[in-house]
């Protein structure tokens, strides 16, 4: 498969993540992490979805356009967002109580590694210049479904690995992994490839994925 430009790959991941939720028929609370996950809101078209942002809001709207910003209103990525009808502000205790208490139906997060057991590493790189965990551990252990949305490799090096070498954020918590090449679902103690990008071959995915996976039949085609 031809390598996509970074923005194009990120947009494809976000679009395919949004697709998971665009047909829910009941009220659905969705939390979105920083980076690619924050772009998912651009592709949400379903009024049943309520976006929760852990810095204190249920019912966050899209990113604010110039002139729409409010000095006291941001999402967890520190971007200005707008209100939606029926939105509610939460203090940090209620925001995380909602997460821990099982009221957040899904969270979409980025990751540096996901391994064959569904372990997720996304908070730090030893020896790097990082010092922060934010809400990652609370979200991964608390949200009902954890969706990892990320670029398939780190400059060609597999991020879907046999065993995480980076510090783990949460154990056996990954339910779905979406990349620009593939969608995997964690089922029966292992990953199942359920969707493939229209421009990818199974052999491309096999060569860039370290963990072993089963292949669904039929295999669905992802949005381009």
């Amino acid at each position: 498969m031809k390598e996509l430009a970074k923005e194009e790959a990120a947009e494809r991941v976000a679009k395919n993540a949004a697709r998971l939720f665009n047909d829910v028929e009941n009220p659905f609370v969705l939390n979105l992490g920083v980076g690619i996950p924050s772009q998912v809101s651009n592709f949400i078209t379903n009024d049943n979805i309520f976006i929760q942002t852990e810095n204190g809001m249920l019912g966050a709207g899209r990113l604010a356009k110039p002139g729409e910003e409010h000095p006291m209103l941001i999402n967890a990525s520190r971007r200005s967002v707008i209100e939606t009808k029926g939105c509610v502000y939460l203090d940090s205790c209620l925001a995380f109580g909602m997460i821990r208490g099982g009221r957040v139906d899904a969270t979409v997060l980025g990751a540096m590694q996901v391994d064959e057991k569904g372990n997720i590493a996304n908070w730090t790189v030893p020896g790097g210049n990082q010092l922060g965990v934010g809400g990652a551990m609370d979200l991964i252990s608390g949200a009902n479904k954890v969706v990892i949305a990320m670029i398939h490799t780190n400059k060609g090096r597999p991020k879907l690995v046999r065993q995480c070498s980076l510090p783990v954020t949460g154990f056996a918590e990954a339910d779905i992994v979406i990349t620009e090449m593939a969608v995997f679902e964690f089922k029966n103690n292992g990953f199942l490839l359920t969707k493939i990008a229209p421009d990818a071959q199974l052999s491309d995915i096999e060569s860039l994925t370290e963990f072993a996976f089963a292949v669904a039949n039929p295999l669905e085609i992802m949005l381009a």
Binding site: T53, N55, I74, S92, N129, G132, S141, G142, P167, G170
Partner: protein
């Protein structure tokens, strides 16, 4: 007659002693009581333990206290927005206890609610949970977390009445209500003061008993 809680930022910050544990509200520079932090930065107070979600940005918000070398220890969840805090930690200039954000919030809440410790799943089995007691409930692992207390809390609210009841503004609320209840002495920076009785009792988030001093911006 009610106690007069109104004072200048300078008089309020005079309560802070060297080595105090200070909670400061805010997330990503929203809900940070900037005038109180600036006043603390002007004071000579040192060896402070600062409990907050993040440390603002370099030399902005709480970043000022780092620039002034007033910080001994940080307890919080996310310092990547202030690269100077990251460097200060790796250079051994400050101590840092990293806490998952929801655990930080709940430990502060617990302190205000008279709960010394509680269990949560966040960090179980990870590097951040390494030294914590682990217990299984319903087949899932949880870590024991202790309440986080403070001597002083510096918080920001939109409006206070004369008693000290507080209402907030949008996502600037964040950690402020929990911190108000967790500290021995809470100083609230507010943007507007109204007469007692003017706030809708249903809209008040922080009851006046948690507010020791009020500083008008």
């Amino acid at each position: 007659m009610a106690v007069n809680k109104f004072m200048t930022a300078r008089d309020a910050i005079a309560r802070v002693k060297d080595g105090d544990r200070i909670m400061v509200g805010g997330f990503g520079l929203k809900g940070t009581p900037f005038p109180l932090v600036r006043e603390l930065g002007k004071s000579a107070r040192k060896n402070l333990t600062v409990i907050s979600n993040d440390l603002g940005s370099p030399n902005e918000g709480l970043g000022v206290l780092l620039t002034n070398k007033q910080i001994k220890t940080l307890i919080g969840s996310y310092y990547n927005w202030n690269i100077e805090a990251v460097h200060a930690y790796y250079n051994g200039e400050i101590e840092v206890t990293l806490v998952p954000q929801g655990t930080l919030a709940e430990s502060i809440r617990a302190a205000g609610a008279g709960i010394p410790a509680y269990y949560t799943a966040a960090s179980a089995g990870t590097d951040l949970g390494r030294d914590k007691e682990i217990r299984e409930f319903g087949g899932k692992k949880y870590v024991l977390e202790q309440a986080i207390y403070a001597d002083i809390a510096l918080i920001e609210a939109r409006k206070a009445d004369r008693l000290g009841n507080l209402v907030y503004s949008k996502t600037a609320r964040n950690f402020n209500p929990a911190m108000a209840a967790a500290a021995k002495y809470t100083i609230a920076l507010v943007h507007e003061i109204v007469e007692t009785g003017e706030l809708d009792p249903e809209s008040i988030i922080t009851p006046h008993v948690y507010v020791s001093a009020i500083v008008k911006e």
